[in-house]
Symmetry: C2
Subunit: 197 residues, 2 copies
Amino acid sequence: MARSRRSPSNDAPARGALLDAAETLMLEEGYAAVTTRRVAARAGVNNGLIHYYFGTMDSMFVDLFRRSVGRSFAQMPTTSSTQPLWEMWEAMRDFSGNALMSEFIALSNHRPLVREEIASQSALVREAHVVEMSRVLASYGVVEPEASPAAIGLLMMGTARFLQMEAAFGLTVGHDDLIQVIERRIAMLEGDRIRTA
Amino acid sequence: MARSRRSPSNDAPARGALLDAAETLMLEEGYAAVTTRRVAARAGVNNGLIHYYFGTMDSMFVDLFRRSVGRSFAQMPTTSSTQPLWEMWEAMRDFSGNALMSEFIALSNHRPLVREEIASQSALVREAHVVEMSRVLASYGVVEPEASPAAIGLLMMGTARFLQMEAAFGLTVGHDDLIQVIERRIAMLEGDRIRTA
DNA sequence: GTCTATAGCTGGATAGAC
DNA sequence: GTCTATCCAGCTATAGAC
């Protein structure tokens, strides 16, 4: 397949390096540290290149967010999983994108473009979650209305995020208790977690 | 009681006006909008005054956070509440400090002083929550280990925060479902919510 | 206490050489 | 594509007049 010659190219090494640098900075020092100069320095290129590839910083943030969402989608448990609930729960808990997401949310407060992107992408992600959760619960014979698939998904997601956020501040009181409550429920449906690794 | 003459005074009108202005800016446009110039402009004073009262911006953020935590403490359900769980749940849900808290968390990522302050204050707040929750559950005869007081508190808090965050992006799928799940549990212990107003 | 003025820095963005 | 050089805006913080 012949390489198209449109400029600027979408898969140039420097472009990816810039996104990587921006993501690392965002995780390590917060979004306020993501400036043209610092991103470029970490990527080992000149800051002018950011505008060459992305136009504006707004646009770079949007591209970075899209890349991150794409990854989390690719990581979602497949239909053929043997323990889909366990896998969802683990994905929600250890997904390092949680920290990144917190930064994007704060960022969206003063960058309308980022805000719109988060809103639309999040709606898609949640829709996919609900579809998957409904399928899984139906297969286990769980019926409403004790808790709808959407509610269960929200509960797991909210808990995972909150625990992670607290832990980042050294707060862990009650964490193990809450994790056990949730995992006991999961185990009732699909048994103890089978370690694959 | 004679007014002490230490300078700068802690209850000067300008000082409070500056904190109010900073809080409003933080909520409306995110912490990045909280600069000396913008805060001073909104408070209707000169930006030099910020350094006069607080020294540095770091220090101003810490003072602002303390004030906010103090308020949320004052708002906590009292021991004599007739429906303490309902009141806690409502305080967790509509407390506008939730939005402010998100900003402080993001801010803490690159301001060590703010980070330490949040960590220590949050530990105190959670401790108070657990004590209160234990007392309430014990009075209802709820026993462990189905769910410890700390776990229940975490679950409510995490859910309240997550729902509010999602709602800020226009995401409300499954929210009513989840709220009902939680409120049904509360109602099992202390009956339907009695409207006081 | 509150102001003006300013020093000194860092940021986003662009023009143009290579 | 990648660089150097540069413009202009906005920031924190301080000095000193009132």
